[in-house]
């Protein structure tokens, strides 16, 4: 995980991209003026297909993908800039976020050509939401214990089982589900496979679950013998664990893991101006130190991915530090501002309430804090 000194690789010189930033900021300003962004109350899980379609028209989805799949063949850092600008503005990116961040790249690497041609252009157009089928009622952190099974049948698989806490499944076109394709043997990570399953299929029931903030965002997805053709298998049968681990590195290192409550930070910087004493300035400064530092890690991961260097450990550090920060921001704001959180009230009080009510999930989704620390410890050679 050593980042300095690094004698083995030259730092990547990124272009400044001021033009791209201001282009995204103009878009955000127009969306805000039209009342389409509710500042401080929406995040990258907030589902709004029309917003995603407008992002797509501007080329803000599938930015790095090949053009033949609807992508724009732009650089990783250009994508990063667009993502972080939209996140900092609190834009509702839930209809495309997961597909753009991890499902699309998985499909590019591991799906059949037919699936790529069907699915990727739809994602790029902002018309296709994909959800992550990992957790199950009895498998949270212990992911290898999943019981959803995909049995080989003529021409494909028959899937039985139940996935839960699945973000935006009720709006999704596809779920990428981790299934057991071989019976469990000595190696608990063997015999797992990922299937990309169309959700509007006979034999699948989706039931929304209400989260702490009173929003129907998580779901239960029940597979009752639905048929999935062979074409929808990602990679080779039995590759599931490897694919999931790779996918999680993408999932853990992005700016979505430290900007979820940035709106509250902006409110803090704006509201406390008149009453900002030394104490308040130091408190806000401490949060911004953490924000800048974790952003540096996140960008370092991006560069490492570009150089094909291992990122598992450092991506995990990025998420752990980022989500701790996201959780601490509402608490500092609560103490420095003389406001109380309200689910109905002024924009500031509702933003604070939104942050407080969503904060617990930051260190759960994408790997719990405890699992992440275990991964870091392993990487450090603690044995």
């Amino acid at each position: 995980m050593r980042l300095f000194p690094n004698f083995d690789s030259e730092p990547i010189r990124h272009p400044k991209l001021d033009g791209l930033r201001s282009e995204v900021r103009d878009f955000i300003a127009k969306e805000r003026a039209a009342g389409r962004i509710t500042f401080g109350q929406q995040t990258w899980t907030t589902w709004d297909r029309s917003f995603s379609e407008r992002c797509a028209k501007r080329g803000y989805i599938a930015m790095t993908w090949p053009k033949k799949y609807g992508g724009h063949e732009r650089s990783a850092v250009e994508r990063y800039v667009v993502c972080e600008e939209l996140l900092a503005a609190g834009a509702p990116q839930g209809a495309h976020w997961i597909a753009d961040r991890q499902s699309g790249p998985q499909i590019i690497r591991y799906a059949t050509e037919a699936i790529k041609k069907n699915v990727l252009p739809e994602i790029a157009a902002g018309r296709c939401t994909i959800c992550i089928g990992m957790s199950e009622p009895d498998s949270g952190s212990d992911l290898s214990s999943i019981r959803t099974r995909a049995e080989r049948v003529d021409g494909g698989f028959e899937v039985h089982g139940r996935k839960v806490w699945t973000t935006n499944a009720q709006h999704s076109e596809y779920i990428i589900a981790l299934c057991r394709t071989e019976p469990k043997c000595g190696d608990r990570y063997a015999g797992l496979s990922q299937l990309i399953i169309p959700l509007r299929t006979e034999g699948i029931t989706v039931r929304p679950l209400v989260n702490l903030a009173g929003v129907e965002e998580l779901n239960e997805v029940v597979f009752d013998g639905c048929f999935v053709p062979n074409d929808y298998l990602l990679g080779k049968g039995g590759d599931g664990w490897k694919l999931v681990t790779q996918e999680l590195s993408f999932e853990r290192s992005g700016p979505d893991r430290f900007l979820s409550t940035f709106g509250v930070l902006s409110i803090l910087a704006g509201m406390a101006k008149g009453q900002a004493d030394r104490h308040a300035a130091i408190e806000l400064g401490r949060l911004l130190v953490r924000l800048s530092s974790v952003r540096c890690i996140s960008l370092a991961v991006m560069d490492r991915i570009a150089r094909n260097e291992p990122v598992d450990g450092i991506a995990t550090v990025s998420k752990e530090l980022g989500t701790s920060l996201e959780q601490d921001i509402p608490d500092v704001a609560r103490r420095l501002l003389d406001i109380r959180p309200k689910t109905v009230g002024s924009p500031e009080t509702v933003a604070l309430a939104t942050a407080i009510l969503n904060a617990p999930c930051f260190s759960l989704r994408g790997g719990t804090r405890e699992i992440l620390k275990g991964i870091i410890a392993k990487e450090l050679g603690l044995r």
């Binding site: 930033r21 300035a281 953490r290 530092s293 890690i297 370092a300």
Partner: protein
């Protein structure tokens, strides 16, 4: 990184492997000073036409990093910076006998480590209206001692021997460079401390198993390491920006404050992992933790960095907070 950085790393490593330990028991640090003089490392930041290496900040930071890895005596960062200030002041004699100290007008009076043969204090005055270097002969009637017991002087009404006006850009770059060099020393010490406690956790057995098998300790060390990773990331980005002329105060203030944050967190965790042996001088850990606790408040104190970042943010206000962080 280039061959120069690699060479500086290797030279500093060998030099400190030979002299750091003995220098701890010799208050004059004569051997270390002589070896350092022979290697010419202190001249890293001097321009080549002034007999130096003409290093950029990233290269100089490699020396500071190694200094941290050995928790070595002698204040390397004020010595490296003195050379730069001497060059800015146009008098290279101060490269040999000077120590750089930062004075911030609305902060506490500056302090300087007392080092034999380094009597000229080069005060970089962070005055936006009138950026300057004040050269003073420090009076040493009264000294204080830091956490390691090393002597310091608090600079008050000392004899001003010369004033050199410098450009605002040179002042800011040097303030920034000082922050990053201290962050590098801290990062070096962090890396050694983490290696030490990981090794200890893997070998020390209690209740019939190594400490590393206990999840509570795995998590403690994972947390400490995460802060060190954040420090290296911020340091690396800050150096890159400073050398390329794109650095903003957010970059270098964050790097120094993050280093300070990590210094405190890693030192605390290290003492917890090492147990009683680490609380005695029979184990070298204390050299590292005491330096960490000192460096985090040197040049620009951790809280001063946080304060300035916070003030900048309140001045920017809600809408301009994000640009303050990312715009270059």
């Amino acid at each position: 990184m280039n061959d120069i950085a690699r060479m500086l790393d290797d030279t500093t490593d060998k030099l400190l492997a030979a002299h750091a330990e003995t220098s701890r028991n010799d208050p004059s640090h004569a051997d270390l000073k002589a070896a350092l003089g022979d290697a010419g490392l202190v001249l890293a930041l001097a321009p080549e036409d002034a007999g130096g290496f003409g290093c950029d900040w990233t290269e100089a930071a490699v020396i500071a990093f190694q200094w941290g890895r050995y928790a070595s005596p002698l204040p390397i960062v004020p010595m490296l910076l003195a050379v730069r200030l001497a060059a800015l002041a146009g008098d290279m004699t101060f490269a040999e006998n000077g120590l750089a100290v930062l004075r911030i007008p609305d902060a506490a009076p500056p302090q300087a480590p007392l080092v034999d043969g380094r009597d000229a204090i080069l005060l970089l005055v962070r005055d936006d209206e009138n950026p300057r270097i004040e050269i003073i002969n420090a009076t040493v009637d009264e000294t204080v001692a830091d956490l390691l017991g090393e002597p310091w002087i608090i600079l008050g009404e000392d004899t001003l021997t010369a004033v050199h006006e410098i450009s605002s850009a040179d002042m800011i770059t040097t303030v920034a460079g000082g922050c990053l060099l201290y962050a590098a020393s801290i990062a070096g010490a962090l890396s050694r401390v983490l290696e030490t406690i990981i090794e200890y956790a893997n070998t020390r057995t209690q209740f019939g198993r190594p400490l590393s098998k206990f999840q509570a300790l795995q998590h403690l060390i994972a947390d400490a390491s995460a802060e060190a990773v954040a420090t290296e990331a911020a340091l690396n980005a800050g150096l890159h920006a400073l050398d390329n002329g794109t650095a903003t105060p957010q970059d270098w203030l964050s790097a120094k404050a993050q280093a300070g944050r990590a210094a405190g967190a890693v030192a605390a965790s290290a003492h917890q992992v090492m147990g009683a042996i680490g609380f005695t001088d029979e184990h070298p850990l204390h050299h590292y933790t005491k330096r960490l606790w000192t460096w985090r408040d040197d040049w620009m104190a951790q809280s001063r960095c946080e304060l300035e970042i916070g003030r900048n943010a309140f001045t920017a206000g809600g809408n301009d907070l994000w640009p303050l962080i990312v715009d270059r």
